[in-house]
Assembly symmetry: C2
Homo-oligomer: 138 residues x 2
């Protein structure tokens, strides 16, 4: 009842997350080390909450049909827009409006949470070496 | 362009929040002191992000048509379900599934963020002294 995730992980381990069980961000971040690979931790209706570790520059991209929320859990990130750069620290968030070109980056590894509708590809319309598997649960 | 909020506040001050400007949770929490009165800080498509200070017991209620996300920014909260109580601390979150009866409470004041679709009333179907104004921006 109320399972938000039900995926086969690492071949054998089936991960199930009940919606009405609390989630600890630190514990979830300890479960992976790759950068720029969003990991789904739960769902709110048809939206997903994803944790990501980022360092270095992402690519310029946009999401044609949806806004995207970035919440910084640990560290500092930057989001470059065509006309400015926003610095976002732990305890801060930003909404990137739909259709707006942006490029996230971090000088040292930062831990962030992204909230967006299910099915959104991290690089938008662009296929890149940074394009990550979708719907990857931890 | 990309305004998420445009409200008349305190009679004269017009508050506008651009979607692509970062939001600092601590600064927003300093702008109000009432408990159990959710304050909208931004929007993601047709969802709202709301900050709330809570202390004591809320009422039993549910939201028939939507899940509800609680993220604890500062302190500790409890969410009582019919079969159990979940304790949620800073750095943790929980999704309350749609239709499920729950009662949030906090022993000392806690600061939380709620994410849910626009138009959701905090007490669900129930009209109570704790029913808060909707769409109240800071």
């Amino acid at each position: 009842m109320f399972y938000t995730g039900c995926r086969f992980h690492s071949g054998l381990t089936k991960i199930m997350t009940k919606k009405n069980i609390k989630i600890n961000f630190r514990e979830k971040f300890e479960k992976f080390s790759e950068q720029w690979k969003p990991k789904v931790i739960t769902e709110l209706n048809d939206y997903q909450f994803k944790l990501v570790k980022i360092k270095g520059y992402f690519i310029w991209h946009n999401h044609e049909k949806t806004d995207e929320a970035f919440i910084v859990i640990d560290g500092k990130i930057f989001i470059e827009f065509e006309e400015k750069i926003e610095e976002i620290n732990e305890g801060e968030m930003i909404i990137v409006p739909k259709g707006i070109k942006h490029r996230p980056y971090a000088k040292t590894e930062a831990k962030i949470m992204i909230i967006e509708p299910k099915g959104i590809v991290n690089t938008g319309e662009i296929l890149d070496k940074l394009t990550a598997p979708n719907d990857d649960w931890i």
